[in-house]
């Protein structure tokens, strides 16, 4: 579990005069759930996009499981994102004309899974996250929390080894946010996969195994708990059959 799956070295990215990433080094171990916190504009989204091969850094490199992401061309990176990564955005960004199950099945179909199998697998996952009976609903007929759970299923149905989530609970109330977070953790770290999550909510961050802080494009660790840069022992989420997850987090030391 402690093998590094994603590592970034000396990442830098500027937009005009502004520095979004300033010489960032980061190692993420397989099975970890990493929360990234920080003020708006501190570079969290840019970091997430650079790690996922959406944005190219000006300098530095990203290595995913032995593959140099920054060396891939646009088509190869698109394929990598489709096959190995999953994404959950703040506003689900599901396709509104498609039903819940079609949105999920589409991710599998893009990887060449026949439609019938894709829909069967998707139905199982949707039921697992408490969405049984809602397969045929259009996205507009789902609540915000339900739509976010569909997005989580879409991100994980292909067996993505890393799920990147950018403020996935940012538009939800605290109760729904807790449910969605449970679903997200169960679907990712709960199955041995990795979660990299950006959040403004300390209670959401507290449920991840590690929290990092960004400030003006620089990463810092929680002061008390992480005096050095090596990844701390990971608290593994405990997943139950119904999809809820109980997390103890010894590492989170307080709010920024």
């Amino acid at each position: 579990m402690n093998t590094t799956i994603l590592s970034a070295r000396s990442l830098s990215k500027r937009y005009g005069d502004g520095i979004a990433l300033n010489n960032v080094d980061l190692d993420i171990a397989a099975g970890e759930s990493v929360a990234i916190m920080g003020a708006s504009g501190s570079g969290k989204t840019t970091l997430l996009h650079t790690l996922a091969g959406i944005t190219s850094p000006d300098a530095g490199s990203v290595n995913y499981a032995g593959t140099e992401v920054s060396a891939l061309n646009e088509t190869q990176r698109s394929k990598l994102r489709r096959e190995a990564f999953g994404f959950v955005f703040q506003a689900g960004l599901l396709i509104p004309e498609l039903t819940a199950i079609e949105n999920v099945a589409l991710a599998l179909m893009l990887n060449g899974v026949p439609r019938r199998d894709a829909e069967a697998q998707s139905a199982g996952w949707l039921a697992h996250l408490g969405l049984a009976g809602m397969e045929a609903r259009r996205i507009g007929e789902l609540s915000g929390g339900q739509a976010q759970r569909v997005a989580i299923v879409r991100a994980q149905v292909t067996g993505a080894r890393i799920v990147f989530a950018d403020e996935p609970t940012g538009a939800l109330d605290s109760h729904t946010s807790a449910n969605v977070m449970s679903a997200l953790l169960a679907a990712t770290a709960g199955r041995g996969n990795t979660l990299v999550l950006v959040t403004h909510d300390p209670t959401v961050a507290a449920r991840c195994s590690r929290t990092l802080y960004m400030h003006d494009g620089v990463i810092s660790l929680a002061p008390a708990a992480h005096p050095d840069a090596t990844p701390p022992p990971v608290a593994h989420p405990v997943s139950t059959q119904d999809g809820s997850t109980f997390m103890q987090n010894q590492n989170w030391a307080g709010q920024p």
Partner: protein, 445 residues
Amino acid sequence: MKSTFSILWLTSRPSSGSKAVIALPAVAFALVTALLLIVLAGGLSFFTNPAQDDEFGTAGAYQMLAALAVSLMVLPILTLGGSAARLSARRRDERLSTLRLLGATAALVSVMTIVESTVIACVGVLAGVVLYVAALPAIALIPFQGQALGLDKLWLPANVLVIAAAALILLAAVSAAVGLRQVVLSPLGVRTRQTAPTVHWLRLALGGVAAVGLYAVMSTAMSSPSLAIVVVMVCGGFAGGLAVLNLMGPFVLKWLAGIGLRRAQTPVKLLAARTVLESPKAAWRQVSSLSMTSFIAVIAGTGLALISAAGESSNPAEMYLTGDMRTGVLITVVASFLLVAASAGVNQAAAVLDRRELYVSLDRLGMPRSVMDAARKRAVMSPVRLVTVGSAALAVILLFPLTGAALFFAPLSLVVIAGVLACGIGLVRLGLAASTPVLGKVLAQ
């Protein structure tokens, strides 16, 4: 006030991604203006310089045909103008975020966007007038009643010109305002509906009844000895057929897209079928002018075939009339092709911009751009194919005695029809291709 103008100036310079949003409507308006003026000039020339009349009522038939052609063209022309203006109104969304930071109100942004859309339309209209003047010498060569139309008959009176231009500019302003109200973007960046809209099967039933009635009237009228009456009936059948098509079209598109959805095995087919199902009426609107083109093509093919098979008429005026009908029909078909291609480009550019955020997110998820582009094009092209073939088939049935005869006496007519329809489909593809760079730019941001 000074700051208002500096904001207007700041944001009126297009970003690299939005040049198409300015260029496409301007080009569309130039095309719309030129076509409208040419159609008006051609139509009016039959009233200002009527043909010599005879016992068959030839002059009246010319004027009726001209009026029919003008009325058929005007609606698609104005529709294209409206979509062009709505496309330029999309620029508001791109500005809103910047302008909010600068302290502008949403109302100011809206007013600025309407002003800008209108200015773009003005530029397009001016270019269209130039295009009209430039095209006149070529149009003047088109023979009617045995001689070239002539430049002198095609100059529109200044007041007609000014009124037409003013009407188009007004249309642009109104459409932009309507467009601003319609495109209320949700946080998802698309117009989301709670449930898919429904298209009632009653459309199909009504359309079927109307088609049968139309057929009965047509087949009795066809036996009339007067060519003028036959012409009137053909035109009536044409207008009636279009009405039937418009009634049944959305339902048929919905029904076939439903079949396509169930059978879809690839992401492209799934997405395309759902896009059509999302709004069969909108899908129909986008291709309905092609149904007219297809309809005209069948009638033209039939007419050409019968003329060549029947030999020369003894009455010279009537002889000219049949030849001139062929000319008029060909002109109408060419203009329709241009309109369909232009509106496919403009509507698709608008659709891509409407869904900017969704396309960006799909790109991030790793959906290949080729899949997005293919799905988008298929959602237009499959109705196009359907409408082309379906309308042609309906025209064949409605004119059955004539089309049957044409098929027997002159199979060449079939080749003409097929060629004309293939051209139409090719042109729509070209129009769609013009919107592909917009997707590329949206994704590159």
